[in-house]
């Protein structure tokens, strides 16, 4: 269990916080934010290697704000492993143990697949191996809390997936509470129960990753999570409060009731279906996330489809899928499979129709 209350941390001229965060025992929290958001400062304050300016750090209910790191029962793993270069792998893993409890270490060593590395020197290991040893070292003394600073960033491809799976298994089995700092939103989804979003030193949102994805609290969080379309709109003067007008004048139905005169609409590019207008076969937008059609069916008619007409401004391929920018106005990015781009001959100038259910539009208050 980790509890942060009113925690403020300073690094140079930059200040993070005040941060309030409660994590249940065994929770896996992904602390995500752009680089420079202050994630590492926060992690260092929890580890006790950096003193906070204000606020408290509680672990399992004890106030440890002024406790030195060696008495906090926390494990710490950095991006680059930072294995002690003058010790063997076994020496590294055993560093935190007063007397080698061989039995307990055996299980850990097996779980992280480092049995065969024990006599090697850190310099001879691959990136993935280094991180697994660093993880074993941090878990060996049986910490209550594990603090990870971009633990997967230095590893690529399949070694990364393997490391991620081992990390997940080893931490879940031991019931350790994890705070995992990353700038990569996809990592949060594959690992975390709880997602905490830090932007410019402020904790913006905390919740299950899928909640943050669907219901971001502000434009920064929405963009960080890949919602490319954040559109200005005004409330339709005499409506039921569920119709808004886009900048270009097109009306849109939304699910949330709109009271303010001005709002922001968040529409994810993969939630929009793109079709050639009238009579030409419609195709469903794919890639990135969410297929709308089926979800509509599953929600039993709750959706009122919005239809917008526009012209393709540009098509950018990203491999299997492409991002198509359609000028309605405003410009709306739609994710379409590259195969469909070819079969529909989409290119700048093509007239298209965009469809998306009212429940695909998330309404945010307009920012000052």
């Amino acid at each position: 269990m980790i509890g942060l209350s009113g925690l403020c941390v300073r690094g140079g001229r930059f200040v993070v916080g005040p941060v309030d965060l409660q994590l249940a025992a065994g929770d896996y929290c992904g602390l995500v934010g752009p680089s420079g958001a202050g994630k590492t400062l926060l992690l260092q304050a929890v580890a006790g290697v950096r003193s906070p300016m204000a606020g408290q750090v509680l672990i399992d209910g004890q106030d440890l704000t002024n406790t030195p790191p060696e008495k906090r029962g926390v494990g710490l793993v950095f991006q680059d492993g930072l294995l002690f270069p003058h010790l063997s792998v076994a020496g590294n893993i055993g560093y935190g143990l007063r007397r080698r409890d061989a039995a307990s270490l055996d299980g850990l060593v097996r779980d992280l697949g480092v049995e065969d590395l024990m006599k090697r020197s850190p310099g001879s290991l691959s990136g993935g191996e280094r991180q697994r040893v660093a993880l074993a070292r941090a878990l060996a003394p049986g910490p209550r809390v594990l603090l990870l600073d971009e633990p997967l960033s230095a590893v690529d491809g399949e070694a990364r997936e393997e490391l991620r799976d081992m990390l997940q298994r080893a931490t879940r089995e031991r019931g350790v509470t994890v705070l995992h700092v990353t700038h990569d939103v996809a990592e949060v989804f594959s690992l975390a129960d709880t997602c905490a979003v830090l932007v410019d030193g402020g904790l913006r949102q905390v919740g299950p990753p899928s909640d943050v994805l669907r219901r971001p609290v502000d434009e920064d969080v929405a963009r960080l999570f890949g919602a490319r379309n954040v559109l200005r709109a005004t409330r339709q003067p005499d409506g039921d409060g569920r119709t808004v007008l886009l900048a270009g004048g097109s009306p849109l139905r939304v699910v949330q009731r709109v009271d303010a005169a001005e709002v922001l609409l968040v529409v994810r590019p993969e939630d929009v279906t793109l079709a050639l207008p009238a009579g030409v076969a419609s195709v469903r937008a794919v890639a990135g996330a969410g297929g709308v059609g089926v979800a509509d069916g599953a929600m039993g008619g709750a959706s009122e489809p919005n239809i917008l007409v526009g012209r393709v401004e540009r098509v950018v391929s990203h491999g299997g899928h492409s991002l198509v920018r359609v000028m309605v106005p405003p410009a709306i990015d739609v994710s379409v499979s590259s195969r469909e781009v070819a079969s529909l001959s989409l290119e700048p100038g093509t007239d298209v129709e965009l469809r998306f259910g009212a429940q695909m539009v998330w309404v945010l208050p307009a920012q000052g």
């Binding site: 790191p69 935190g96 007063r98 941090a138």
Partner: protein, 270 residues
């Protein structure tokens, strides 16, 4: 810019002027050795005053290095790790002896450790005098060569990522434990190189020692006195001897430092 087949004019010109400088250093060293000849070394070691002076110089420098090591390593570690008010001043003060003219250093030390100096008067009743004594030699050597130990050790500690200590702390080490088990083992080569460099500077010191404690004669003073009294050929044996010792120290030093340099060098990008 690697392995161009033909030497460019610019590189060629640089190489030529650079060679002039290399020759400027090489020629006197070779000339001195040739002048002395192989037999000179044995002859030098058979002279009583040279043997005595050699022992005196080496052991004084060792004591000076040991004393500075005790205080200098913690200081180097603090300078590498901590920020505190007045840090720049402390760094400046420690480096000051590098540019401090050595005869002036002798004069300055004399105002403190001389018969009329504060510490000289204070310690005389305890039988510790600094003029014309081993204690004076040690103090003079310490003053002029301590920056070499502290600076080299500080750089060695600065090269150790402080996050290693953060990890060690979370693994249960106290600040002292993290220093002894993690930082010092990684900085060890650099610290040793600093001590060696200080010892090497210590044995070759002349100006400060000559003013504070001309007697007993360290090897540099012996060279000077023989030269003044009996000319070049009398000064050559002790001079060659001390150069050879300095050279051995120097080779050891490079063996310590070069691997570290290579480690921090930029790898060829692919």
């Amino acid at each position: 810019m690697v392995r161009r087949r033909r030497l460019e004019p610019f590189t060629l010109a640089s190489a030529v002027v650079a060679l002039v400088l290399v020759a400027f250093v090489l020629v006197p060293v070779v000339s001195m050795m040739v002048e002395a000849g192989a037999g000179f070394l044995g002859q030098a070691l058979r002279q009583n005053d040279v043997r005595r002076s050699l022992w005196l110089t080496g052991s004084s420098a060792l004591i000076a290095t040991g004393l500075v090591f005790l205080c200098g390593v913690p200081l180097a570690y603090l300078l590498a790790r901590r920020h505190f008010p007045g840090k720049g001043l402390v760094e400046g003060l420690i480096d000051l002896p590098i540019v401090f003219p050595h005869t002036a250093a002798g004069v300055a030390l004399l105002t403190v450790y001389g018969r009329d100096g504060v510490l000289g008067r204070l310690l005389a009743p305890l039988g510790l005098t600094f003029t014309d004594s081993v204690a004076g030699i040690v103090v003079a050597m310490m003053f002029v060569s301590l920056p070499y130990l502290v600076d080299t050790a500080r750089e060695a500690f600065a090269l150790v990522d402080p996050r290693y200590e953060q990890v060690a702390r979370t693994l249960g080490s106290s600040p002292a434990g993290a220093f002894l088990r993690v930082s010092l083992p990684q900085a060890w080569r650099g610290v040793l190189a600093g001590a060696l460099l200080m010892w090497g500077r210590g044995i070759s010191e002349f100006g400060a020692v000559a003013i504070l404690a001309y007697n007993p004669k360290v090897i540099s003073v012996l060279v000077f006195e023989r030269f003044e009294g009996f000319g070049l050929h009398s000064a050559l044996p002790p001079a060659v001897l001390i150069v050879i010792i300095a050279f051995v120290v120097f080779v050891l030093l490079r063996a310590f430092l070069v691997p570290r340099r290579r480690g921090t060098g930029r790898e060829d990008d692919r």
